[in-house]
């Protein structure tokens, strides 16, 4: 069966603006979108440019938009796309500048990976096993003992060490759309991976402090796109939420985002209701409050005026029980 591939084309040397070019390709059972692109390149048009390497969904080179959705071309079956869309539309990833055709500039993405210090900080003093040794005849080596549970969030199929840095999540991230300096899901998932590592020797909590800064994990907009579009079934947003929990547990609550969470928890714990004025004040201080004024004014015009004094709700006992269950009694 023949099908059509409609490819985004742009060469900065010759094109003023991007355009689309159509190719007709002969299908075979099991053909992937990457196979189709390779066939076009080797038989029809050698100028079509894209990255590729492993063709088995582990190197992360061939991420692109296929019929509007960010995917790895190597693990996307042509037949499924054709059944659904009747054509294969291929476009470069979003949130990064296009160099040529389907190739984007990844520099910013990897700069953000570097920015979170993706390695163990320091060396644990009790770790005598970091020194290399050549064994003599009959000699054995002893190894450090770590309980399985210490690595429980690092050894599951869907845990963040399985991330292949393919940039699918970054391309779909709503947070990056709104703020190009936001670190993005992959870098923050990596931050979590090291914050969670039992061997990390981050004595003063610098990881969580740095991650709480502007553009860090409090800037996630919780759109869940990173989880939805991850080709490896990883949920970066879950790592981000765990970072929120971890930093609040460690009393790293200087950022507006964390103050917001703490304030909401306190408000609900005290009255069972959300005290919006207080939450706005406690999250952002006077400046925050002033910044929120236009929104508040707009809400007021529509008749949404928060009460100045909140009454306790009837079922406060349920709230108390829930907080006890969640270990949040100090917020009552």
């Amino acid at each position: 069966m023949e099908f059509k591939v409609r490819a985004y084309r742009f060469n900065p040397e010759t094109d003023e603006k991007p355009y689309y070019k159509e190719y007709t390709v002969e299908d075979y059972p099991g053909m992937t979108v990457l196979n189709a692109l390779i066939k076009i390149k080797s038989e029809l048009d050698g100028t079509l440019s894209f990255r590729r390497s492993c063709r088995s969904a582990i190197c992360g080179s061939c991420a692109m938009k296929i019929n509007g959705i960010t995917k790895l071309a190597c693990k996307t079956q042509v037949s499924l796309e054709i059944d659904k869309f009747g054509i294969i539309n291929v476009e470069p990833l979003a949130n990064m500048p296009v160099i040529r055709d389907l190739i984007v500039d990844q520099e910013v993405f990897f700069d953000k990976i570097k920015a979170i210090k993706p390695y163990l900080l320091g060396q644990r003093e009790d770790d005598a096993h970091n020194r290399f040794k050549t064994l003599k005849e009959g000699e054995k080596i002893s190894q450090p003992v770590y309980d399985k549970s210490e690595f429980k969030n690092l050894t599951g199929n869907e845990d963040t060490p399985n991330c292949i840095l393919c940039e699918c999540c970054y391309s779909e991230c709503g947070g990056v759309v709104g703020n190009k300096d936001y670190l993005g899901p992959a870098a923050l998932a990596k931050l979590y991976r090291y914050a969670e590592d039992p061997r990390d020797n981050d004595k003063n909590g610098s990881r969580l402090v740095n991650g709480s800064m502007p553009n860090g994990f409090w800037d996630c907009v919780h759109c869940q796109a990173c989880e939805q579009f991850c080709p490896k079934g990883i949920s970066p947003v879950k790592s981000i939420v765990r970072l929120h929990e971890k930093s609040i547990k460690n009393s790293i609550t200087f950022s507006p985002g964390s103050k917001h969470v703490v304030s909401i928890a306190r408000s609900i714990g005290e009255t069972g209701r959300l005290d919006e004025i207080k939450v706005a004040f406690e999250s952002g201080g006077v400046t925050g409050l002033l910044n929120d004024l236009p929104v508040a004014f707009g809400a007021g015009l529509k008749g949404k005026i928060p009460p100045l004094r909140l009454k306790l709700i009837k079922d406060m006992e349920d709230i108390r029980l829930a907080y006890k269950e969640l270990d949040l009694e100090d917020k009552l």
Binding site: S53, R55, S56, L120, H129, N130, I141, Q143, F151
Partner: protein
């Protein structure tokens, strides 16, 4: 022109491990790679990395298993280093941040692997290569290493018998760059793209080996190509040996575990050469299932499959349309690994002063005629590390006054420009497919003189046609068309070296099996082949001794 003390070409495990060693000492080492480091093919390694940790295991047992696995062609002094340094290397990696699964005692979990007499393959589910690659990459970032990524190296330069640097093509903008250095390490990986149906990435085109033989450095034992017994039938994508390590069965069309016929003791966990031949025999004798063998893991149960083999479960679903929890996986042998490579000693040194190689591109030789599963990742870190240390030592005494021949930059640039201007009608992508198919048919699992000579004729024909390659892409920005054309030249040269070596070696040893010479012949062939090019570009061969220290050659049965 750029200037650094050390240039590391290739950013897979061996290159990154060497880089960490050098950067840790503050040495000015730069990494040059044709892809971003995390795209390197080391990341596709799935099943395990071997080291003897258990109190009932010993590195000496690992040593012997590896010698026997190599069919006695491995150099025993080097294998002793590989195995006695294995546990120390793994613990060092662990302390750098690499995560391994744990056993119940809190140590590193280990699974059985082919040809190993003890379960000694350390793993991270079925993605240990990925874990190690990213762990080492993170360390390279920690030591603030300069990475020139998406640069394609075109030449290795020497001055007065000493290495002086490399020439590299910047794929992003089409500019050529000279990088002068006192030491150069090639960790450029293998050449799986020589064959159709291979487990390798599209980037594995033997570039480093081709550049080396062109620069006068011998390639050793190139006729030994590993065919992995379990690769997905349709795509050749790897299914880890760890599946058999966890207890998978190999079944023929009669539903019989046929390995009992070929390796009654080791069964499915015989070494790869033995299993690949057994499978091919079953298929050839009509007991295959649509040209494939079945790998059955259903009896392991869903929970264990999800915990230990999640990646291969997903790969089987995505690429073969088979859910291994419910159905057996159709597999067949596919080209996987190069036992041969750039001849080095056990510190990574080659015949050119200051020029090193490590990892799959190198031949130390620790794998001899057949590599055991779980020994390649080990090879990359042990010898990547050793090369790093040796380079650091070498720099202390290396003279800095060698000349970098800048005309080489111009020469490579002209080669590229000439190809852009060529009016030739041959398409390199199509020539590559023809070569791959011929190599699979003629120089595959089973080999025989006439078929190999036919392959050689085909290679000769392709060499002629390659002179008429024309490319569509004339631009400078990310021109992958031109890079692929030069990669094709590299695999074509490597294919010729493999084929000529295979015709020359008139015996069967390890992965090199000749139906016309089915026995191992220690009196004539217990020796390494060394391929070089003569003045006219013809491949010629020399031989060198195998280092035999502890274990005298014995018949090899499993």
């Amino acid at each position: 022109m750029l200037k650094h003390d050390v240039v590391i070409v290739g950013a897979g495990l061996a290159g990154l491990r060497a880089a960490v060693e050098l950067r840790k000492k503050g040495i000015d080492a730069v990494i040059v790679s044709k892809v971003y480091p995390t795209r390197s093919h080391s990341g596709a390694a799935q099943g395990g990395v071997n080291a003897a940790f258990d109190e009932n295991d010993s590195w000496e047992s690992h040593f012997f298993d590896t010698v026997k696995g190599s069919d006695y062609l491995g150099d025993q002094d080097a294998i002793e280093i590989l195995t006695s340094e294995a546990p120390g290397n793994i613990l060092e990696l662990q302390s750098m941040g690499v995560v391994f699964n744990r056993n119940d005692k809190g140590g590193i979990a280990q699974r059985p692997f082919g040809g190993q007499s003890f379960p000694r393959s350390c793993y991270y589910a079925d993605a240990v290569g990925h874990m190690m690659l990213h762990g080492l990459f993170d360390n390279v970032l920690k030591y603030k290493t300069k990475i020139m990524y998406e640069y394609f190296v075109t030449s290795l330069l020497t001055d007065n018998g000493k290495v002086s640097g490399v020439v590299a093509y910047d794929i992003k903008n089409g500019k050529f760059e000279g990088v002068a250095a006192k030491a150069v390490l090639f960790a450029t990986g293998g050449y799986g793209q020589v064959y159709s149906s291979n487990t390798n990435a599209l980037i594995n085109t033997g570039d480093g080996m081709a550049i080396s033989i062109n620069a006068g450095v011998p390639l050793m034992d190139m006729e030994f190509v590993q065919f992995h017994p379990t690769t997905l039938k349709s795509t050749g994508i790897l299914v880890t040996e760890g599946a058999r390590g966890e207890g998978a069965y190999l079944l023929n069309s009669l539903g019989v575990r046929f390995m009992s016929k070929y390796a009654p003791k080791a069964m499915e966990l015989a070494p790869r050469d033995v299993v690949a031949r057994a499978e091919q025999t079953e298929i050839n004798e009509g007991r295959g299932v649509d040209g494939a063998i079945l790998l059955d893991i259903r009896h392991l149960g869903k929970e264990r499959i999800m915990e230990r083999l999640p990646q291969i479960m997903q790969l089987s679903i995505d690429f073969e349309g088979v859910n291994p929890i419910h159905e057996p996986i159709p597999i067949r042998p596919g080209a996987h690994y190069s036992m041969g490579g750039i001849k080095t000693d056990y510190n990574g040194r080659t015949v050119i002063e200051g020029y090193y190689s490590a990892g799959e591109s190198a031949c130390v030789s620790v794998h001899g005629a057949n590599r055991l599963g779980g020994n390649s990742l080990l090879d990359t870190v042990v010898f990547g590390r050793r090369a790093g240390i040796d380079i650091a030592e070498y720099l202390k005494s290396a003279e800095g006054d060698r000349k970098f021949d800048e005309s080489a930059i111009k020469r490579d640039e002209e080669k590229f420009e000439k190809l852009k201007k060529s009016a030739g009608k041959e398409r390199h992508g199509l020539l590559k497919s023809e070569l791959q198919e011929e190599m699979r048919a003629g120089v595959g699992v089973f080999r025989e003189e006439n078929a190999m000579k036919k392959a050689l004729e085909k290679i000769g024909e392709l060499k002629e046609r390659a002179k008429n390659i024309g490319i569509d892409d004339k631009s400078k920005t990310f021109n992958t068309d031109i890079v692929e054309a030069f990669e094709f030249n590299n695999i074509l040269l490597i294919a010729e070296v493999i084929t000529r070596g295979a015709i020359l070696r008139k015996e069967s040893r390890g992965a090199h099996y000749r139906t016309d010479f089915p026995e191992r012949d220690d009196s004539n062939w217990l020796k390494h082949t060394l391929a070089t090019l003569d003045g006219n570009g013809n491949v010629k061969f020399d031989f060198s001794e195998v280092a035999i220290t502890k274990f005298k050659p014995q018949p090899r049965t499993y």
